[in-house]
Amino acid sequence: MKKYPSILFAVLLAAALVLGSIQGRRISRLRDSEMFYRWILAEATQYRLFPGFKAPGAEPEEQNMMDRPLFREILDVTEKVLPGQNVTDEKGNPLKKLIAVTSDESQDKVVWDVVRSGALAKQQADFLKYLREKKLASVASEFDPNAVYGEQRANVGIGNIFFGFRKVAANFVWLQVDRYWHQGMEQRMLPLMKTCVALDPSFVDAFLVGAWHLAYNATAKMPDTPEPLKKYYPQYGARLGEKELYYYYAIDFLKDGIRKNPRNYKLYFDLGFSIYELKLKDYPNAVIYLSEAIRHRHDLWVPRQLYIAMELNGQYEDALAGWRDYLTKFPDNTTAPRFIERDKALINEREWEQALERARNARDPAEANATRTEAERLHDEVLQMWQALAGSGAEEDPYAVGRILRMKALKLIDEKRYLEAIAVLQNAWSKSGSFADEALKIIIDVKLKAGIPLSVSEKKAVMRQQEAEKYKSMPPEAGK
């Protein structure tokens, strides 16, 4: 070989290039698997949380999309591959193994191992084929599929050739959004926010702040839409006006963020807390998304908000169990003991109301007496609990005060002392903000029941309620 050094170098160079090529292929396969793995995580989240949701921009009538058929195929294959039998969710409902595994962030490695094992080789090949052919509805949106699942390949490089300028561009667009917000030009912000997340789908804060602008700031100056002017939107299953539609735009925006960043708790938290709990008062959905938020790496206050949402949704036992668990983990927390007592009181209060109802409906006088005695006992017990929580002076807890007055009013109503009950409720209305809406509702009910004339504002509230009920009962087509 010393005689022919050029041949030696040629062989060495060829060997290095072949090795490089082999390694390049390996990386290419890994990156394909990575894309597929990330898609499975995103699709599994969608499948579990919002099966009917379509990406913004995707036409509902698109027929040839292959997401769900492909994902169902994957579900079937993974049923045989993944360990475990008869997997169920927290409520005992049967669950596909892949859905169970993907809902637990600590098991991501299991999913990745399955993807790399070759058990899903056919599905991965199909995925890449559909991706090229743009046949995946979950990615066939205004957003580039490559930008979502294979960010590193950013439409085969044009964006990234300039050193990943796309992300920087997204930041500068965001600065402009911020400027518009402070200039009060909310409507100008909206298209820019979409541009921002199109440029950088991992820009979670753009999704969060964007949804906040949509649900709160963009609609702040708009009046509530009167019922007759609302239209039925089948995709949301609700009658909405121009203002209310923005809330659902915010939901879609956050769901789109979740699709692209399924492991980020903030998106679930904002959807559950800011939109469903605070804005729409839709507590069942708030509990769903806040429960999802705590599945992922989260901040300390996230479970606290979940337990509060559970309480608002009437899941007192779940909230109580949650707070107890929280206190075990963080014994120094000062909020948890208070909420534990509060949930205990709420459980007992509910039992008291049920006993009162049973006593009212009992036909047998002996049974009625026994139930009433039981109700009396519960009443005293709960009242003591609320009184202990209520405190006094500057440390007075308005929530507990509201509950005490509510109990007092309900007892007076049970004794048919309506005028006194109304007086108590009016007192409660002014003292406890959290009880104000319910107090007004009970006042109206009592007045209607007792034939007491309604005030003007109460009449308006009744009319609004009747109008909402009228349209709610209409078939969707009639409201279109």
Partner: protein
């Protein structure tokens, strides 16, 4: 014997590093990158306070991260290309190479020393920029930036490939201009290699021989040429969760990838240099 083989290249490497660090252009690039990295903290000042306090901080951190990673990429690659393209041609031009090679130093050792010297310069610049980046980030969010270090580490292996091939071109050139242009070309085409795959996938649809030939050529080039897009994981890494399984597999593979192509680049460089008439 072995110590002698190591000491020679190492002395040349240290000399190259000292020489390189004195270059005004290099210092200029470094100062610019430092200005941009520190400037990123001030750019966030353009964001007026919103009521979403935490999101505000996160957005500022993201802004700093993106700008700094981009600055490191731009200035880092410019430093890499500039230094890789100039070390050998400058010595040939100044005739220093004759003095060195007249001593008992083999061309292989000389070239290895030069290459290691270039890498020392690149690494030190990267460490400097990375450290400033970490400080800028730490001032905004006091959390140890582990993922950031991985990102910078990966950036180096991307630069290593660019450096090796630019160095190879520089061994054939008599001035630094051509290798500098070639270095930029290598960086840009290295980032466009993914297009070749796209061309190969789409070719052959008409069934014409030319169409099919283009497909084969594109496939062949895609297989052989280094694909710098693979290193874009460095941008992605900053926003991944701490327990991301694909990342843990990809990083070692990318390191091996960078090293293999660096060896290929060095072989070409030596092949060219050993036949060079000096």
């Amino acid at each position: 014997m072995l110590t002698g083989h190591i000491r020679g290249p190492w002395t040349i490497a240290v000399y190259t590093w000292r020489e390189g660090m004195r270059k005004k252009t290099l210092i200029g690039f470094l100062i610019l990158s430092i200005l941009v990295i520190f400037g990123s903290s001030f750019i966030t000042a353009f964001m007026t306070e919103t009521t979403v306090g935490e999101a505000q901080t996160d957005t500022q951190v993201k802004l700093i991260k993106d700008i700094c990673v981009t600055a490191i990429s731009i200035f880092g690659v410019l430093i890499t290309i500039f230094i890789s393209a100039s070390v050998v041609p400058n010595e040939v031009e100044n005739k220093v190479v004759y003095t060195i090679l007249s001593k008992p130093v083999r061309r292989f050792e000389y070239l290895l020393g030069k290459f290691i010297g270039v890498q020392l310069i690149v690494i030190i610049n990267l460490v400097l920029m990375g450290a400033l980046f970490c400080i800028a980030l730490y001032l905004r969010q006091p959390v140890a930036p582990t993922l950031l270090l991985w990102s910078i580490f990966l950036t180096y292996f991307e630069f290593l490939i660019v450096s090796a091939f630019t160095f190879a071109v520089s061994c054939a050139a008599s001035s630094a201009v051509l290798p500098t242009i070639a270095g930029l070309f290598i960086y840009i085409t290295g980032n466009l290699t993914e297009y070749l795959k796209d061309v190969a996938n789409r070719a052959g649809q008409t069934g014409q021989w030319l169409d099919q030939t283009i497909g084969y050529v594109a496939r062949g080039l895609f297989e052989i040429l280094p694909n710098l897009q693979n290193f874009s994981l460095r941008n992605q890494i900053l926003y991944l969760q701490p327990n991301d399984p694909p990342r843990d597999v990809l990083i070692p593979n990318l390191i091996v990838y960078g090293l293999v192509y660096a060896v290929a680049g060095y072989i070409i460089a030596y092949w060219v240099f050993r036949r060079k008439e000096l």
